[in-house]
């Protein structure tokens, strides 16, 4: 990960299948405080839509959703 300065929490759910990426982000979010950023990396193609849906359901903003070489990256901000 090429990442600068500001601390961004990390969550690696590569390899995990539905519904575990969502279960893991829900758990991880509980540890954060409002405004915190978290970057998730996943390989489940279904997670692209699922993270967008989870963001809408929970109000945690999805700032970025991208894919590089079969790895999906999501950046979320805790509400």
């Amino acid at each position: 990960m090429t990442r600068v300065a500001t601390e961004i929490h990390q969550l690696d759910v590569k390899g995990l299948q539905c519904p575990m990426p969502i279960v893991k982000i829900a758990k991880a979010m509980k540890e954060l405080v409002s405004g915190d950023l978290i970057e998730v990396v996943a390989t489940d193609p279904g997670s692209v839509k699922d993270f967008a849906a989870w963001s809408k359901a929970t109000g945690n903003e999805l700032l970025e959703s991208s894919a590089i070489d079969g790895v999906f990256k999501f950046v979320l901000r805790k509400r």
């Binding site: 390899g15 995990l16 299948q17 539905c18 519904p19 575990m20 969502i22 279960v23 982000i25 829900a26 758990k27 692209v48 839509k49 967008a52 849906a53 989870w54 809408k56 359901a57 929970t58 109000g59 999805l62 959703s65 509400r79």
Partner: protein, 179 residues
Amino acid sequence: MLEVMERPAQQPVPAASEAKSTAHEKLVIFAWSGDLDRVWPTLILATTAAASGMATTVFFTFWGLFPLVREDRRITGKNMMQKMLAVMNRGGIDYLKLSKLQMFGAGSGMMKVLAKQHQVASPAELLASAIELGVKLIPCQMTMDLMGLTTADLIEGIEEPAGAMTAMLDAKDAVTLFI
């Protein structure tokens, strides 16, 4: 890629914190089957709902109750018929059978191997996650009496046994599924 999640205009996405109870924020699943291919999606949906902040309840009734039987309770029941039932219908989350292609255990065995290969969480892992996420798992009292099961036969982390009315009360204003 994300535009598919847009809802029609008449249903603006509420900020989850202010969402009123008119929006479905509850999920109640009536789990009546002990089949692997029903229990699995039941637990996937329950954990997902809980992870998205929905108050989630699963009411386990009839064959659906057996996945909640503890690992170390091989024979349950008080009388001969209930005990024979337990012999022929082994309880426990690790002993679920497929509704088709079971092939005397080969089917569910192969499914477990495939799940492991593809890192799909097992029913046992999902059940543990459900408990951790605060999903209310309610065993049906009537089924317990019928099948001769006691709370000591069931896993920890679940609710007190209750009747249909308790599940129905939770089901008010909830998304309900019968799996």
